[in-house]
C-alpha cells in the first residue's frame, strides 16, 4: 500500500503565550512540534505498512522549518518526506491549504490511502482532511477509531460519532481522518533517527505543482481573519475553602445556592 500522511507543524500547546498588549499569540521562541493529533495518523499508516507492506509518505505544507516535523515522521518510520513550501502559499486558510495539498498529492502519484489527523491543535478546524478528500474526489471517513480489515480494495472501519461508533465499508483509494483511539504513537527508533538526519526531503514549490494561482495563499483564501481578541481568562469566580466537616457543609450549601441562582437546578 502506498499511504500519504499530511502532517502539520504547530506551536507546542503547553507553551502558548499571549501578548497582553495585542491579544495575539506570541510565536517567537516557541517550540514547534508535529501536531500531536497527526502522530495518530502516522502510527495508523505505519501499522498498515507493517501488516501489508508498502510505503508511507509524510507531507507537510509550511515554511522551510516544517522540515523538522517531517524528520520526526521519518524517525518514527515514514519512508519518504515531502515539503510543500513557497512564499505564495503563505496565509492560506483551510480551503486553500486543502487545495494545495491535494494538488501536491496528485503530483506525487497514486496513493491507496491518505490518512490525516483529526485536526490541528493551532487552527483547530478539522477542515483540511475532508477538504483534501473533496478536491481529490476520494471517499471520506472522518474520526476513524479502528481499522478492522482491508480486503479486496475495501476497508472496514469504525468511526467515532456523538453517542457511539458507526461501522463503515469504504472503497480504496480513500481518505481517513483518525482519532486518538486508533493507536498509540510509537517513539522514534535509533535507526529511524539516523535515517531522518540523512534523508533528502523533497521540496515542492508552486512552480512544480499544477496549481491555479487564484486559489493560493492569502489572496486565494475565501475566509479572512478580521479581528483577534483574547477571551476573558478569569471569570472572577468565587472560591470556597472547605477544610473540615463544617467547611464542607457550608461549601455544599454555597454551591447549591449558586447553581440555583444560575438556574441550573
Amino acid at each position: 500500500m502506498r499511504i500519504l500522511v499530511p502532517i502539520k507543524q504547530v506551536p507546542e500547546t503547553g507553551d502558548v503565550k499571549m501578548d497582553p498588549e495585542t491579544g495575539t499569540v506570541v510565536r517567537a521562541g516557541v517550540e514547534t512540534v508535529v501536531n500531536p493529533l497527526d502522530l495518530y495518523a502516522v502510527e495508523a499508516a505505519l501499522r498498515l505498512k507493517a501488516e501489508r507492506g508498502g510505503t508511507v509518505v509524510a507531507l507537510s505544507m509550511g515554511p522551510a522549518q516544517a522540515a523538522k516535523a517531517l524528520r520526526e515522521a521519518v524517525a518514527m518510520g515514514c519512508d519518504e518526506a515531502v515539503l510543500v513550501s513557497d512564499r505564495r502559499f503563505g496565509g492560506s486558510d483551510t480551503w486553500a491549504t486543502s487545495y494545495t495539498i491535494a494538488q501536491a498529492a496528485r503530483k506525487l502519484g497514486y496513493f491507496d490511502l491518505v490518512i490525516a489527523g483529526e485536526r490541528a491543535t493551532d487552527g483547530d478546524t478539522a477542515q483540511v482532511g475532508p477538504g483534501i478528500a473533496s478536491w481529490l474526489g476520494l471517499p471520506l471517513a472522518t474520526y476513524v477509531s479502528r481499522i478492522e480489515s482491508v480486503e479486496g480494495g475495501e476497508m472496514i472501519l469504525e468511526r467515532l460519532v456523538e453517542d457511539g461508533y458507526q461501522r463503515l465499508a469504504i472503497t480504496l483509494p480513500a481518505l481517513l481522518t483518525v482519532v486518538k483511539e486508533i493507536a498509540s504513537p510509537r517513539l522514534p527508533t535509533l535507526r529511524g533517527k539516523k535515517r531522518s538526519k540523512d534523508i533528502d526531503i523533497a521540496v515542492l514549490d508552486a512552480d512544480s505543482i499544477d496549481l491555479d494561482p487564484s486559489y493560493l495563499g492569502l489572496k486565494g483564501s475565501p475566509t479572512k481573519v478580521v479581528r483577534i481578541a483574547s477571551p476573558k481568562v478569569s471569570r472572577g469566580g468565587a472560591t470556597v475553602i472547605a477544610k473540615d466537616d463544617e467547611g464542607v457543609a457550608a461549601a455544599a450549601d454555597g454551591l447549591v445556592a449558586f447553581l440555583e441562582k444560575k438556574g441550573l437546578l
Binding site: 478539522a126 471517499p139 475565501p222 483574547s230
Partner: protein, 343 residues
Amino acid sequence: MSAETCQCLVWTIAEQRDGALKDVSFELLARGRRLADKLGTGLASVVIGDGVSREAMTELVERGADAVYSVQDPRLAHFVCEPYSNALSGLVSAYSPSVVLAAATSSGRTLMPHLAVRVRAGLTADCTELDIEEGTGLLLQTRPAIGGNIMATIKTPDRRPQMATVRPRSSRPLPRDPARRGIIVDVPVADSVMDGRVRVLGYRKDADGSGCVEEAGIVVAGGKGLKKAENLALVRGLAEDLGGVVGASREAVDRGWIGYPHQIGLSGKTVSPRLYVGIGISGAIQHLAGIKTSEVIVSVNPDPDANLHKLADYAVVADAFLFVPELRRRLAARKMEADNHGE
C-alpha cells in the same frame, strides 16, 4: 407560497438520526433567524435523511424556518459524506443562498468542508458567535482558536455562500410558535446523488451509555484525583443528580476508567455545556482547551493552586471524597422536597 417566491438567503442544515431531528437543528434556527432578520431575508432549513415526518418539519417552521427543503430517500437514512454533499451542492447551485450554517458535530464538520470545496466557498469552523456586519451585510464569524486562547473573527468577503459550523449548545432554540407559517418543499432525489463507495454497516452505542458529552447541557467530569476507577461512581452519581453526562480528563481515560468518547480536551472532545463540573482535575492547558466556552465552570480540588480553580466560576477547595457525597445529600433532600410539593 412556492419555493421560488420564498427568498430565503440564510440556510441551516438540520440533523436527524433515525428520522428524529436533533436539538441542534433548532439551535441553528435560532442563530439563523437573527441573521435572516438582520438581513431582511427568509430562513430555510435543509433536512437530509429518511423518514423525517411532516410534524417534525413543521416544528422547524414553528421554531423559525420560513421554508424547509426536505431531501429524503432510504439511501440517505444515515449520514455518508458523498451523497449528502452531492445533494447539498445541487441545492446550493439551484438556490444560491448567501449563508449556510451547520452544526459543528461529527457529521457537520465532515460535510461542510467537503461542500465548501465543491461550491468554491469559504468555511469557518466551530463558531461560537455569528453576527451581520453593519453596512456590508457580511457574516461575522467568531470562533475560539489555539486551544481557546484567542477568539478570531472571520469574514468571507467575496465567495458565496458564507459557510460556518456552529458549536452545539452555544445557543438555545426559539420557543415553538404554532402560529408561524412556512413551506415544506420536497426535493426530488436523483440517482446521481448516490455514490456507493461508502456503505454504512452498523452502529454500536458507546459502552458507557451515559450519553454524549458534546450534546449535554451539563457535564460532570472526573480526573486522576479520583485515584481509582471505582471512585468515578462519585462523578456518575453527581451527573445523574444534575441530569448531566460524565466526562473525563485524559489521565482518567488513559487509566481505563472510562472510554475515550468521554475524554474532554485537546485530544478529545470540546464541550460547551451550560454547566461543567470538574472533579479531581488539575486543569492542564490541554484539558482547558476543551471546556473554555462552557457557560458555568465549577471545580472541586483540594489544591488551592489548581489551574482549574483559576478558570472556575465557583471553586471548591475540598477533598472530593468528602465534598461530593455532601453535595449529593443536599441535592437528594432538595429533590425530595420538590417531589413532596408536587403531590
